[in-house]
């Protein structure tokens, strides 16, 4: 499994990249996309929506199931990845290169894991 070292990870399988002063990108991990299977629909929040750590901000769907995407951070949605609306499979193809939302005003986050911690966590979930 591919787990980039520069990212932080949540127990609900989102990744966060802290990109600057109070800004972050959020996406789904490789483990999450493998568990879901090919994604066929992504439901994203609106620009300007307020996020809270531990609260769902959207969902992703495969043929089999729908799964909430939980925000690992607080803040305001600055941008949503609209390419995903037509091509949700981008998440399967490149989970760490495909962000769902860009967030600003981030001041707090869930308990996030390092890459090493997250790999151990996934090994236990398998």
């Amino acid at each position: 499994m591919n787990t980039p070292k520069n990212l932080k990870y949540s127990k609900t399988h989102e990744w966060v990249e802290f990109t600057g002063e109070g800004t972050a990108k959020v996406g789904l991990t490789d483990f999450a996309q493998q568990k879901m299977g090919k994604l066929v629909f992504v439901n994203l929040p609106m620009v300007g929506d307020e996020l809270s750590p531990g609260e769902p901000f959207g969902d992703v769907e495969s043929v089999k199931a729908v799964s909430d995407v939980i925000s690992p951070v607080d803040g305001t949605v600055e941008e949503v990845n609209e390419d995903l609306l037509d091509a949700p499979g981008m998440i399967n193809d490149d989970p760490y290169g495909t962000w769902l939302v860009k967030v600003s005003g981030v001041s707090s986050s869930d308990d996030l894991m390092t890459a090493e911690e997250y790999e151990a966590f996934c090994a236990e979930e398998e």
Binding site: K38, N43, K64
Partner: protein, 361 residues
């Protein structure tokens, strides 16, 4: 404690995702639902459907019994034919839907849904009359479905040409496939050309491996329950517990072709007549907005609930989100715009013709 089919070890060793279903441990997918779905639409796939139940009804009064137990009419059926039928309760609801194979005039094989097997066997036993025997042979029988446009090419490699059932809903019996004794019917639950093969449970793995090998050049892959469900939904085939149950009548869910009200008395007949013209109808919905509609979602016109979805998901071959629903029949006209509640969000959809997918001739 879930039961294992004769192919359980294969499923596990192949890396399939195995889940409990209808009392059995069965593969939901081997690699990917969409890939498996597309293999059946464009090439060929095999499914372990050994969880399905098989019941033999035999004796001089067998025909009278099945004509009483089931809603279809079997009077003019000939040997080697297969017929679909609902089985109703006294209120006109559905106990199960079944396939009936005529082995000879005094012997019929009835194929039932796995999840209903015990209920069905008890139901039928309690209503048998005259000189008739009923035997549940499910545990000694394995069933493998070979489905897809290349099915015939694959099966022809393993059996004599005379063993290939020529028409839809016919079967051949005591045929050797790769040296294994099989009953072969041209039937399936995918909306695609294909066969269902019944053999002794002990021979199942050998037959499975022979099919895998014979199909290798045709792109045959094993397919799980996930693809079985998306394929049957794309072909708009009803599933017990979804499009029908013990409260929904076969007439309400569009199965009137399997109900012969003009024949002599049968279980549910008077209730079906008393219920009159169905007030609900089974329709297809195509999502015109954004999102995916699944089962048990309320269907609206404006603020009025007109029914509920019974099955729904993203359909891989059609590459879109579709659902079936039971709704008030006055809103069943093709093109009617509706909306469906999905976790508090309204998704726009339109009533479209069933089946969503029909194979090309």
């Amino acid at each position: 404690m879930e039961k294992k089919t004769p192919l359980y070890d294969y499923h596990v060793s192949s890396g399939a995702k195995v889940v409990p279903f209808a009392g059995y441990l069965l593969p939901v997918q081997y690699t990917d639902v969409i890939d498996e779905h597309m293999a059946v639409r464009t090439r060929v796939g095999i499914f372990d459907v050994s969880h399905m139940g098989e019941v033999i009804i035999s004796g001089p009064d067998a025909l009278k019994n099945i004509n009483y137990l089931f809603t279809n009419d079997f009077t003019n059926m000939t040997d080697g034919r297969v017929r679909y039928s609902p089985m109703c309760n006294e209120a006109g609801g559905v106990v199960d839907d079944l396939l009936i194979y005529r082995m000879n005039q005094n012997k019929y094989m009835v194929v039932v849904n796995a999840s209903n097997r015990e209920k069905d066997v008890e139901w039928m036993k309690a209503r048998l009359f005259g000189d008739t025997a009923l035997e549940d042979i499910s545990d000694s029988v394995a069933q493998i479905a070979l489905q897809g446009p290349s099915s015939e090419k694959v099966l022809a490699k393993l059996t004599d040409a005379s063993c290939l059932p020529e028409k839809y809903y016919t079967f051949t019996d005591n045929c050797e496939v790769a040296g294994i004794k099989c009953l072969i019917s041209q039937t399936g639950y995918t909306g695609e050309f294909g066969y269902e093969l019944y053999c002794e449970a002990l021979d199942a793995l050998k037959l499975w491996n022979a099919l895998l090998q014979a199909g290798a050049n045709e792109g045959l892959i094993p397919c799980g329950l996930g693809a079985r469900d998306t394929l049957r939904l794309e072909a708009a085939m009803p599933l017990y517990g979804h499009e029908m149950d013990d409260t929904v009548s076969p007439l309400e869910t569009g199965l009137d072709f399997g109900v012969k009200l003009q024949k002599d008395d049968f279980v549910g007949k008077s209730a079906l007549i008393a219920r009159g013209e169905p007030q609900i109808t089974r329709v297809g919905l195509k999502v015109t907005g954004r999102g995916i509609i699944r089962e048990h979602s309320a269907v609206f016109i404006g603020d009025e609930i007109i029914g509920n979805t019974t099955s729904g998901t993203f359909l891989p071959f059609l590459n879109g989100a579709y659902a079936m629903a039971l709704i008030d029949k006055e809103f069943g006209t093709l093109g009617t715009a509706v909306s469906v509640d999905v976790r508090g969000r309204r998704i726009a959809a339109e009533v479209v013709a069933l089946p969503f997918y029909k194979k090309s001739k």
